[in-house]
């Protein structure tokens, strides 16, 4: 909150991401609830990103999104449907690596599922050298954001 008051929380997010980008050890990020905007991104720059089955990860809360895009926060439900925020959406968009199943009402089983994925990832990432770990993370984000060729001439 103090950071907010000085107006440099944007810098804090940027610096946090930069530090994570430099880390020579494996980083595994797991979205376990509602993750949104720069705050979530700032602490999730990982070699592997997982999401719990019912977690959401978005650019902004659906209320905020609707209010910015349609100037109407009450359209949050419509926004939530359009925004692609579910684990499945993000898996299809190739942003997350895996969806972790959430067995209903069984927290121990869920904890075990998470544990299993962490151990598997560490085993896999351990084979990489520190340099390769940094590179794997770079390439992961480098390819995010598909685009297509454009036929347009910029004028002076």
């Amino acid at each position: 909150m103090l950071e907010q008051k000085k107006g440099d929380n944007g810098e804090a997010i940027a610096k946090s991401m930069l530090k994570m980008a430099e880390l020579k050890v494996p980083v595994i990020a797991i979205v376990i609830g509602e993750g949104s905007s720069g705050g979530a991104l700032a602490i999730s720059l990982g070699n592997k990103i997982f999401m719990l089955e019912n977690a959401v990860y978005s650019i902004l809360s659906p209320e905020g999104y609707a209010s910015i895009l349609w100037k109407d926060a009450s359209k949050a439900k419509e926004a939530a449907e359009k925004m692609k925020i579910t684990a499945k959406d993000l898996y299809d968009l190739k942003i997350i690596d895996k969806i972790i199943k959430e067995p209903e009402g069984d927290f121990d089983k869920l904890a075990n599922n998470i544990k299993k994925e962490i151990i598997n990832s560490i085993k896999e990432l351990k084979k990489l050298s520190p340099k390769e770990i940094v590179e794997q993370r770079y390439n992961k984000y480098r390819q995010m954001g598909e685009y297509k060729k454009l036929d347009f001439k910029e004028k002076k």
Binding site: M1, S58, I59, M83, L90, G145, E146, E154
Partner: protein, 278 residues
Amino acid sequence: MIVDKIKKRGPSPRKQVNNVDIQVGKWVSCTNCKEILYKEDLKNNSNICPNCGAYFRMHINRRIESIIDEGTYKRFNLNIDNINPLKLEDYPQKIDKLRQKTSLEEAVACGTGKIEGENVVICVMDSGFLMGSMGTVVGEKITYAVEKAIKLKYPLIIFTVSGGARMQEGIMSLMQMAKTTEAISRLNKAGLLYISVLTDPTYGGVTASFASLADIILAEPKAMIGFAGKRVIEQTIGESLPEGFQTAEFLLEHGFIDKIVERKELKHTLYKLIKLNK
């Protein structure tokens, strides 16, 4: 009746102005002092109000003209378009219209050029293109430019103006913050100079990524810079914020910015900084 009253009033004031033969579209009113300015005068004065000194936002091409030596700018041939990842109905048309209106491909232009003879890679954003928001195309172009700077061993200069991550591309826009940050980390490792110039307004995901990660952060006077807008923060924390909050001057005082530079001094300041760091 209201209708009768309107009829009695005769032609609207705007129509009367047209009758005295003032050329429409050549004049603009200063948002600060309200003075009516001839656009050509404004252009010749680096888009600064000749009356009160307020800064107007700049088109990419004007900015490049004012910073890069004449005839030396070469844009990167990266002609790309977004794939409308959220499949919004009106988004592609909106972009199309903006392209026609602004003559720009997207909200950022990147290329190489010389500043008083010194080679640089330069990126310039434009507020006229969806408020300079960063979607997949802007993210890719910035990343490409950073990688080019590394390859060419040129200093990197980025002029920012942005409302933040582009809502229309959802989570893909958010990821561009990570992508550009990753690129900057490589630039740091290569030991190359990176100067960002924050212009009014620079907000959201752009502030929270490459804009804040420069070796030297410059800003134009009175530029508004932040992550969330002032009103949003006040509503969230339920407290009012200090005077001048999020102005370049406030941020300079708190150590976020290294120097505030007048628009007309920017080119030479950049040159001196590049020379100094060579």
